[in-house]
Structure formats: structure tokens, C-alpha cells
Symmetry: C2
Subunit: 607 residues, 2 copies
């Protein structure tokens, strides 16, 4: 069975060395608790939970799957006990206010924890993961009474939460929602409708489940401006917080899926379910979208997680399994064949995985500092600061979610490939990683939706290219000081400077074209997203390499010298072998819209 | 449930119009039987079998899987009856000599049949598919007595065959094989050892299973030059052909796999199993490799098949499912949202699938003519002609197998992506296609092995670049006559001419570098393979577009005008949006070997 080892060395490199989180926390209103000692304790404690409790349940959970009978879902063996341990450890409350039982830490600390949990056992991670959106929604939009009622058990992990958006006839297009909410004389509502694809929609890990539900009031306008938001508990909650009778929300089925078998994907039938409105009438979608950025970054973590998990599986196999001799002569002459890792193409696959996992982690840990500042501004009621950081994070979000989940899937597949035919066998664990990773480009907005969000909403409509100019200015500030440096850092800086200019020029061309042809946005969006991802990841690899080179140069490497050298070498690999893919995406983004639009709908297929 | 419709229009376009198979068959010694009427009857008959019998078993077969108990394997419900229908229809004998009960048709006819069977139900296709290698081996290397004994029931489909190569300690590296064959006084052998990953290694579809087994004689030299080939039946066969007692080969287990659940992957324990040597002692590997090209093209078909299946699933969904409005305004105003197919990014995904499926089919149908000529030369004992066509086919083989299975997997994933979250749900059938497609880049030589075969064996050692020069000369002959043409054909011709020069120049650079650094071959091989695949597919798309344009220009389009136009448009899409990926692969192939070799083996991971 695959083993998980938290990549603490890499995490500390990013936290302490690349992004200087100590200084970052020192400047945050809620950063005082995030002392180096606390961070160290959290990293070590989460690593132990993930390595010893969650990772060993991953393969058995996939094998067993969830159980459904008589409207009730039961998680695979061991999940309930593991969740109890998770809740007892206070892990759910890390980023939530102390007044509701949380630890009040910056949200980035939760990102570090999620990185490990996601890699150790993604299916498990989804149970508490879905609670986060629910908690954030109640925190921001709930009445004081709602907060007092729901938040303490959600923050402690005694209860979990869900987000109920999708219906059978619509997922992306929430304008088509038909679930109804009828006001009652006592000010509550009765919710009726069918929601599907509800992750952790029912299970036996927690005493209650709090559903956040999108529904329409009887007099609501059609479309997206007629959707309201409701809190609907599985078990009714008395004013004293005690759970009472079963509410009218029943699980009708769980889906049989390609992967994430240990995470139930529920069909929920709401029938006259009692609920309370949260946020303003008909403004439910806006409220829901408030936390879209953070939810999507939660899924971006999945991309990194599955790249890391697959890399951690493939690396020891490549060192142990022996096949053929190296092209340049025997490497392990005492054995009948050389280890796989000696073969250049196996190294290419391993390095691709490593570059994706560590490059993606750097992107997420960098973006997490903006999330910290966004939440800080929200807590302080500083709208201008909030808008600034929300905007910055909003530029990262579709790139992180769209690009990193696509590359996470590639990395997961490469790990299988290193195993050869043995990768296809269930017991070896590698194929599960691919099946689990596959959902990441689909839910929480497909890659195509992320691409439209990036190019259409964030770049064109939202900022007229300013968000690209801002990010490339950051790239330029980094690279201009190193343009004439020798060695790999100088080479990377020159490449980055060229890419910064190219990214801007490409964006301008697409903007000009979009004025005359709206379809050209959709035709360019996917390739624009992928181009942006490759160039952004190049920037974050250069940051890491420059930091590593500085440590080597100053002689502070010490026992980490090999680690720093590997960072520089992985960055070089990325620049030489992966970044060139950006060119094909640039050509795709700049191709005429006709390349996809000219064919008649009836001409795609002929009998 | 997904429906399968044989793409007969596309197949006929290739058979009749692009490759003029009528003239090709007229020039073949065994082509006389392949009259237009016979070909039409075979296409229609196979289409009916695939659409009505095999395709409906695909999803249920995946769901049920194979059963193993008491050393016996049972196929999923319906497979036995379907196989009986397949055998009764004489489908197994298409390409085999009439003297053993076959129809003596050119092997390309079998390729057309396999294209449909592979798409309708890949797992089913593997049972009779594995017999082909067994039959070909006995045909070429068997004694007259062995042929008389084994071939009639194998050719009729009453029995099936396997190829037993892999052992637990080795797959690719057959030098490590340890299975032993001990000669007996009566001239037979007793085989003892463990073989794994044996497709169709045991099942209940046929009365007997004939295993072709690689094993070592007691005095054999170590390594690949000490491996011999044996015929080992599941049930002993008397001199009269009657099956008798159970032989000492028992199925120990079947694998639990990511996909192809309806195809049993067996662990076979040989214990003093009676067998007969076939081919010369210690020359078993050479004999086995005789049919490597055709076996690998059999798997290349899988790439096309899963692209086609996923496209056939995604297209109707994209026309039926409605989500959001088109960027340029309502397209289906009578509905609450527009069909997915109006969205440019969905069209990009569908066109990518279509370009892969139809482009790959053209590559295979083109290569099949060389296979016909190779078999013709073998039957005539014309070694020079055999070597010529074997060499040509040998250049295509790793490209078809390696490149088309990688792209088949991409296309399968894109079909899931068109379905959004619904693609992840088992009942919708799209995720099965991805799971089934995933094995194709692993077995019959991983993509990495195909890449080494192409660059190391075929291009560098085998021909010193001549095979690339020959193929690019073909590209040049096609394009030079159209260099100054207007419209899409002229654009494609100019691109092809440039790529022909580029492919040669790149090959020369890699050859020069390989002299000083053997590892550089392995470092370049994967990207060289993918580059070659993209450029070769461009050639086959240009062939199709040129033919379609000629039909349109001559006014012979008639009711096929829309079909021809779609061909040209798909070719344009390929050139504009997919072919540019070749540039990144060129950069990868030309990057220094250091990009993958410089990292110390111990520096790939740090705790």
C-alpha cells in the first residue's frame, strides 16, 4: 500500500524562506496567534494525523465505498473514528473566530493543513472541507441568532455542512434552478425540490448536517436574480441548540462514480423542509459567490495533492523496480537490471510530477497570503482593502483551479505510467489517484468555466487587462534585477521577462478581437487559461530557484544544500521541458474563432 | 446508456476515396476475394454485430466484471452468447488461410472489423484479439502437425489463444524471465513458472485455450538469447484433435483493475504443464517479436476506438444538454438555455475528439496497406519485399501505438469533460471509456518503450534517419504540388513542407548528439515520438482534406458535400489548434539530456 509522508521540508521552504510567512503574519491583524511555534505544532500535528490516520484509510475507503440504505448513508469503515479524532483535535476550527470555538488563525494556516489532508485522503478531506463554505456563509450572512445556533457545532466539527446548488437540469447554469422556498407565518420557509451531486450530503460522521440551499421564493424573478439562500438542517435545531426531529430533507440515492468512492455524492430530496433565509431575498447567488474564490482554491489544492500523492507513489517504485540496462551502461551491476529511475524517460515523468506538485504548491501558498489579507479586510470592514485583495485573488483563482487540476491529473497519470502495467492494478493504489483526481476538473466549475471566468470576467470585463498587467509587472520586478545574471537564474529571468511582455501583448490582441466577435472569447479561453497557468507557474518556480540559489551562494545551505540544488534543477527542468507548452496554447488562443465556430452543428457527425 | 453507431461513412471515405483500397486489393496476391461486394458485406455485417450485440454489453460488462472461483474464470453475462455469435459468423477467420477454415482476406479487412469491435466493446474485443497473435505464431513457426492440430479450432473461434510473456519480476525486460521448460523423452516439454497479466488467460467462452509461452530450457544462456517459445494448451489435445485432460496450467487469480473489467487479466501458474516447442530453441523472443508490429497496431486501434466512443457519447449530449446562453446571443430562444454545442469551448473539445478519432483512423487505414503487403511477401517467401514492408510498417508502429493511445486517452477525457459532473457518473458510460482507454498506454509496451523503439531502434540504429527521410519525402511529394494553392489546402501544404524539413533537421541534430551521449536518446525519445505523431497525423489530415476538396471542386460531392466540408474544416482545426503542440515536443526533444539527467537519484525527494 502507498505510504504518505507530509512534504514538510518543501512546505517549510515555502512558508519560511520563499514567502516569509513570519513577516506576513506579523503584519496581519489576526496573525498574532500564528507564532512560529504554533505553526510548527500545527504542521507536525496535521502531518501525524494525515500519515497515521487518514492515509491508511485511503485505499480501503475506495475499495469499500459508501453505503446507502433506507435513506441513510454510512461512510466506509474507520472514517467515523478518524473524523472523531479530527474533530477532537480541534482541526476544523483553525481559521474560524475564537468566539465560536475556533482558533482564529489566518486562513493560510488552514491551507497548509488542507494540503496534507487532501494528499493523504481526498475523499475524507471532503467531509470537513464542505463545512468550510457553510461556516463562512453563516459567518458573513447569518443573523446573530443563526450564528449562535449553528456555528459552535460546525466549528467544533460536531456537525458538518454542505452547499446545495446543483439540480438535475442544471449545474453551471444556476439560472435554471427550480427548488422553491415558501414563506411561513412564523418567518421560516418550507423548501421543496431536488438537489444532486451534493458532496457529503448525507453520512454518519456527524450528529447533524447543515445544508446551505439555493432556492426561489414564490414571487422571485426568473433567472439568477431570483435566487435566495437558505439554511436547512438535517435535524431541526431547537432554540437551545439541541437537535430534534428529522427535517424534510432525505437522501434519495448516492452516485456510483469513477472515484472518490469514500465521499458520498448525494441526491437530496427536499420536501417541505424547514429552513431559514440567510442573506437578502433574491441575492442568494451573490452571497454564494462570495466564497467562490476560496472554495475554488480548495479544489486547486486537489490538483497539487494528487500530483504529490502520485509522485510519492512513483518515486520509491522507480528506485526499487528494475528493468533493462541504462543506455549508457550498467548502473546497478550487482542486479540483473537497473532501477527504473536510471532511465531518462522515467526521470522525465518523475520530474514532471515533481515540478507540478511543488510548482503548484508554491502558487497556492503565494495566493494564500492574499486570502489572509482579504479575510483581514473583511473582518475590519475595510471595503477598499477587501476589494483590492478579492480582486487579486480573483485573478489567481481560475488559474489555480483550472490549470492546477488539469496538471494534477496529468501528474497522476504519469505516476501510473511509471508503474507500467502494475499501475493499472487496484491494489497498487496508483489508479485510484487518477480516478480521484479526475473529478477535480469537473466540479466547482469545469476547466472551461474557469477559463471563461478568467478571460471573460476577470481579464476583459472586470479589469480590461489590468490584472494581467499587474501580475506581469510583478514578474518584471523579479526578473529585471537578474536579467544579466549568469547561470540558471539569469536564464530564467530572461525567459520570464520575455513571457511577461508576451502575455500582455497576447491579452491586448484578444481584447481587441473580442470587441468585434464575442465568440472569440470562448474560442480563446481554454488556451488563454493554460498559457496563463504555465507562465504563472514559471514565475513561482523562478522565485523558488532564486531563493534556493541565494541560500547556496551565501553558504547557508548546510545540510539543505542538496535540497536547494534540487529546487534549482527542478526549476530548470520546468523552464526547459514544460514551459514551452505555453507556445502551443498561445497559438490556440490567438487562432481565429473560426477554427471552432465554422463547422455547422449538424456536420460534427455523419452516419 | 451510450449507443454505438459504426462510422461507416468515414470508413468508406478512407477505404474508397482516400486510400483507394479497390486498386490496392487488385494488386495483392490474396486480394481477389476482397471484392467491393465482400467488403461491403463485411462492413455491414460487422457493424450490425457491433451495434446490436457487442455495444449493449459494454456497460453491463464493466459493472459486473469477470468472476473467479476454484481456478476458473467466468465472463460477464451475455459474453459467452455474443462470442458464440461472433464465432458462428466466421468473424475470427477473416484474415487467415482458407486451408485452416479462414477466409484468406488481406489483414486490412480485419483492421476495419477491429476498428468497430474495439469501439463497441473493447473488453470483448480482447478475447478474440489475443487469439490473433497465437494463430500468427503457429502459422509461421508451427510444424505441419501443430498447424493441423491447433489452427482449425483457433481460426473458427472454437478455441482462443494467449501470449504469455510477463512474469511478476519482469514485463518489458523479458531477459529476466525464469519460467523453465524441461525436455521429456518423448520430445515434449514440461513448463513450470508463473505468468501474470495474461489477457483472456482463462475464461468460459471457448472450449480450449492455447497459450504461447516464453520459457527457458535448462541449458539456455541467460538473457534474451536463452528464451524459447512453447505451445501449451489448457486442455491436452489428442492426435485426433479431441480435447482431453486438464493440463498443468491453472489460473491463480484475476486482477482487480481500473478498467477493462469484462476482460480477465489472469495470473497463470504453470506446473509441469505439457507443451511443445515452437520455433528454434533460444530463438523464442525473435519469433515473438515477428508479430510485434501487428499486435501493437491492434492496440493503436484502441486509441482510435476510445476517441470515437467518447466522441459518439459527447456529441449527442452536447446537442441535448442546455446550459447558459451563447456569448453572441441566444441560439435556442425557445428554451431556457442554449445547447452546449453552441459554446466555443465545447466545440473545441468535440473537434479535438473528432480530429483524433478520424485522423488516427486514417493513419491506421493507411498503415494497413503496408501490413497487407508485408503478409503478401511473407506468404510468397519474398524476403526482400517482406523486409521492405516490415521496415516501413516498423516505422509507423511505435508512432501509431504510442501517439494514438496517448491521444485516445485525451479524447476520452474530453468526452467526460463535455458531460461536466455527469461525466463522472458510472451509468452515463463516459468514465468507463476513460478507465478502459487508460490501459492502452501501458500494455504491449508503454509509451516510453514505443518512444525508445522509434528513436533508438528504428530511426537511429536501424536506418540512421532514413525512415524519417522516406516518410518526409512522401509528405513533400504531397505538398509540393499544392504549395501555391489558395485556401486551406495550400496553407496545409506549406505547413507540411515546413514540418517535413523540420522533422529531418531535428532528427539529424538528435543523431549527432547521440554519438557523444547515449542518454540523450532516452531523454529525447518521448518528445520525439509525440512530435512525429503530430506531424504524421497532419499529413494524414491533409490527405483527407485534399481528397475532400477535390470532390467538392469536381462537383461530385452531391449529398456528401457537407461531409467533405466537415473533413476540410476538421483538418483546418487540426492544423490550427493541435499541430502547434509539436513545437513544444520539438523543444523537449532538443533540450539537453541534462534537463532530466542532472538531478542526483537521492535528490528527487526530501522528507
Amino acid at each position: 500500500m502507498l505510504k504518505y509522508k507530509a512534504p514538510l521540508r518543501d512546505m517549510r521552504f515555502l512558508i519560511d524562506e520563499v514567502f516569509d510567512y513570519r513577516a506576513h503574519y506579523a503584519g496581519l491583524a489576526n496573525g498574532g496567534e500564528a507564532t512560529p511555534e504554533t505553526i510548527a505544532a500545527i504542521l507536525e500535528g496535521a502531518a501525524a494525523l494525515c500519515e497515521e490516520v487518514l492515509a491508511p484509510l485511503n485505499l480501503p475507503g475506495d475499495r469499500e465505498g459508501c453505503h446507502f440504505s433506507d435513506g441513510e448513508v454510512r461512510a466506509p469503515a474507520g472514517f467515523k473514528e478518524a473524523y472523531a479524532q479530527y474533530a477532537a483535535g480541534g482541526w476544523q476550527g483553525l481559521p474560524f473566530p475564537a468566539e465560536y470555538g475556533g482558533q482564529g488563525l489566518p486562513v493560510s494556516v488552514n491551507v497548509f493543513k488542507s494540503d496534507m489532508m487532501a494528499t493523504a485522503n481526498w475523499s475524507f478531506n471532503m467531509y470537513p472541507g464542505l463545512s468550510v463554505g457553510c461556516i463562512n456563509t453563516i459567518l458573513k450572512f447569518g443573523t446573530p441568532a443563526q450564528k449562535a445556533l449553528y456555528l459552535p457545532p460546525l466549528v467544533s466539527g460536531a456537525w458538518t455542512g454542505t452547499m446545495c446548488l446543483t439540480e438535475p437540469q442544471c449545474g453551471t447554469d444556476l439560472a435554471q434552478i427550480t427548488t422553491r422556498a415558501v414563506p411561513q407565518p412564523d418567518g421560516t420557509y418550507r423548501i421543496t425540490g431536488t438537489k444532486m451531486f451534493i458532496s457529503a450530503g448525507d453520512h454518519d460522521l456527524a450528529a447533524n448536517i447543515i445544508h446551505i440551499v439555493l432556492a426561489r421564493l414564490p414571487d422571485a424573478p426568473s433567472g439568477t436574480r431570483g435566487i435566495s439562500l437558505f439554511v436547512v438542517p438535517k435535524f431541526l435545531v431547537g432554540p437551545d441548540g439541541a437537535t430534534g426531529a428529522r427535517n424534510g430533507v432525505m437522501c434519495g440515492a448516492i452516485e456510483r462514480k469513477m472515484g472518490i468512492h469514500a465521499s458520498p455524492t448525494a441526491l437530496l430530496n427536499f420536501e417541505q423542509a424547514a429552513g431559514a433565509m440567510i442573506a437578502e431575498p433574491n441575492k442568494g447567488l451573490e452571497a454564494m459567490f462570495t466564497f467562490m474564490n476560496t472554495a475554488r482554491i480548495g479544489i486547486a489544492i486537489q490538483g497539487v495533492a494528487h500530483a504529490e500523492a502520485s509522485f510519492q507513489g512513483a518515486l520509491p517504485y522507480a528506485k526499487e523496480r528494475r528493468s533493462m540496462r541504462a543506455l549508457s551502461g550498467k548502473k546497478d551491476p550487482e542486479f540483473p537490471a537497473d532501477a527504473l529511475i536510471w532511465h531518462p524517460d522515467v526521470r522525465r515523468m518523475l520530474l514532471t510530477q515533481k515540478a507540478i506538485a511543488e510548482g503548484g504548491r508554491a502558487m497556492i501558498y503565494g495566493a494564500a497570503q492574499m486570502a489572509d489579507k482579504m479575510f483581514e479586510a473583511a473582518a475590519a470592514g475595510d471595503q477598499a482593502a477587501y476589494d483590492e485583495f478579492d480582486g487579486k485573488l480573483g485573478f489567481y483563482t481560475p488559474i489555480l483551479k483550472g490549470f492546477l487540476t488539469e496538471l494534477g491529473l496529468e501528474a497522476a497519470n504519469l505516476g501510473m505510467q511509471v508503474f507500467g502495467g502494475h499501475g493499472y492494478i487496484h491494489e497498487n493504489g496508483m489508479e485510484q489517484i487518477v480516478r480521484d483526481a479526475r473529478i477535480a476538473t469537473l466540479y466547482e466549475g469545469t476547466t472551461g468555466i474557469q477559463a471563461l471566468d478568467l478571460l471573460g470576467r476577470k481579464v476583459l470585463l472586470g479589469t480590461r487587462g489590468k490584472c494581467v498587467r499587474d501580475f506581469t509587472a510583478t514578474m518584471w520586478r523579479f526578473s529585471r534585477r537578474r536579467l544579466f545574471a549568469g547561470g540558471p537564474i539569469g536564464r530564467m529571468a530572461r525567459t520570464l521577462a520575455r513571457r511577461a511582455l508576451q502575455w500582455n501583448a497576447m491579452t491586448t490582441r484578444i481584447m481587441l478581437r473580442a470587441r468585434g466577435d464575442r465568440e472569440s472569447i470562448g474560442a480563446a479561453s481554454f488556451d488563454f487559461l493554460m498559457y496563463s497557468g504555465y507562465v504563472m507557474m514559471a514565475h513561482f518556480w523562478a522565485l523558488q530557484a532564486a531563493r534556493a540559489a541565494a541560500c547556496v551562494a551565501s553558504g547557508t545551505g548546510g545540510e539543505s544544500a542538496a535540497f536547494y540544488l534540487a529546487k534549482i534543477q527542478t526549476a530548470e527542468f520546468y523552464f526547459e521541458r514544460l514551459l514551452p507548452r505555453a507556445d502551443a496554447h498561445r497559438k490556440g488562443a490567438l487562432a481565429s474563432a473560426g477554427s471552432v465556430m465554422r463547422m455547422d452543428n449538424d456536420s460534427f457527425g455523419f452516419d
